[in-house]
Amino acid sequence: MIRARGLEKRYGRRRVLRGISFELPAGGFLVVSGANGSGKTTLLRILAGLVAPTRGTVDIEAGRGRIGLLAHEPLVYRELSALENLDLYGRLYRVSERRERIGMLLERFGLWEARNERVAAYSRGMAQRLALCRTLLHDPDLLVLDEPFSALDEAGVALVDRELAELAGLRTVVASTHEPDRLAALATAELALT
């Protein structure tokens, strides 16, 4: 469950977020929409615990290590292979039977053949698929997804659609998007930032 009350974030004099309050029960799916610069990424970083709000409070049931963050960057080392990156994350996130889990995710996201290639050689879409593998690796209770469809081709979008449909109701999800209609069928709550 997430309970946010009066969230405000300032960077110097610039106010990025103001008066954001919402409650999302466990298993809820919150879609955050808004124009560029409306504070979507900042809100998601606050929910992930990476940024502290200037004012307000946020209570999150899922503790550190139980949050899966999909950010603008894939959060992987470009000079390591997909397998090496996921193995490192699997170790740090205490994933049990991590080799099996990594293999299953790489298969599911169509990266098994490219598992030993360095990420630097990946296309943007492949890197985004790897980022999704990393996000789901530790089977998180809370998924924080910043523009999950960005850089994906049609097949990639269909893959993410399928994953989100499977996870909806089972995991708490907060996803930001420019296209809220795409996630409307899964959403249990919506938050439009201005």
């Binding site: 992930a48 615990g49 990476l50 940024v51 502290a52 503790g63 550190r64 290590g65 139980r66 949050i67 963050l69 950010a71 603008h72 960057e73 894939p74 959060l75 992987v76 080392y77 470009r78 000079e79 390591l80 090496e84 490192l88 994350y89 170790r91 740090l92 996130y93 205490r94 360095r118 990393r134």
Partner: protein, 212 residues
């Protein structure tokens, strides 16, 4: 046990990245050798060995800076630090892994630099080498923490030396003292104490550096 395994995995990752990119170690090697060559010609031929030991420490500190400036670049350029910070492992393991990797690069640079120094300037005794090793630990422990702070800013190349050099002065005093003093054990003890105090401080404060 898992803490040690986390540290080992993080340090191994840094070594692997460096082996593939060759961004840091070649730069450190070239820098330290070029610096020693310049000092060789800059120092008058009748200068005392003590002056040369001082120059060795200038070369060591600035070589460490070359490595430390690049230390957190992979984590910041691709946002990897966010992923590491969210992991349930002890965050200080991230600092310790980076410290050990940087220490390995600095030690590798010195494997070349110290014989070159002995060739160009003056012989290095066991206390002087022990001083170098102890000072390396201190430079890398404090430097990895400060480099993490500096890497989050746009001006990391300027900020890191401004933060590190004042804190490196005791290490230079201890390092030169261990090479030129008739009682090097006092200076080695001082370096050991510096390492212990600043390693604990850096270990304890890393969490606050990487979270807002």
């Amino acid at each position: 046990m898992s803490y040690a395994a986390d540290v080992a995995a993080l340090a191994r990752k840094d070594l692997k990245v460096e082996l593939r990119t060759r961004d840091t170690l070649p730069a450190m090697l070239l820098f330290v050798l070029a610096t020693l060559v310049v000092f060789h010609f800059a120092l008058p031929t009748n200068a005392a060995d003590d002056a040369a030991y001082g120059l060795l420490w200038v070369a060591i500190v600035f070589t460490a800076l070359v490595g430390l400036t690049r230390a957190w670049v992979p984590e910041h350029e691709h946002g990897v630090l966010d992923g590491l910070v969210l992991a349930p492992c002890d965050r200080s393991a991230i600092w310790l892994g980076k410290t050990l990797a940087t220490l390995a690069f600095l030690a590798a640079a010195q494997v070349v630099a110290l014989p070159a120094f002995a060739l160009f300037f003056a012989p290095l005794g066991a206390p002087a080498i022990a001083g170098v090793l102890l000072a390396d630990v201190g430079i890398c422990a404090v430097g990895s923490l400060l480099a993490a702070m500096a890497a989050a800013t746009r001006s990391r190349e300027v900020l890191l030396p401004l933060l590190l050099l004042p804190l490196a002065i005791p290490l230079v005093v201890g390092g030169v003292g261990s090479a030129v003093s008739s009682e090097p054990s006092r200076y080695l003890l001082f370096l050991g104490l510096y390492d212990a105090v600043f390693a604990v401080l850096s270990w304890a404060s890393f969490e606050y550096v990487v979270t807002e």
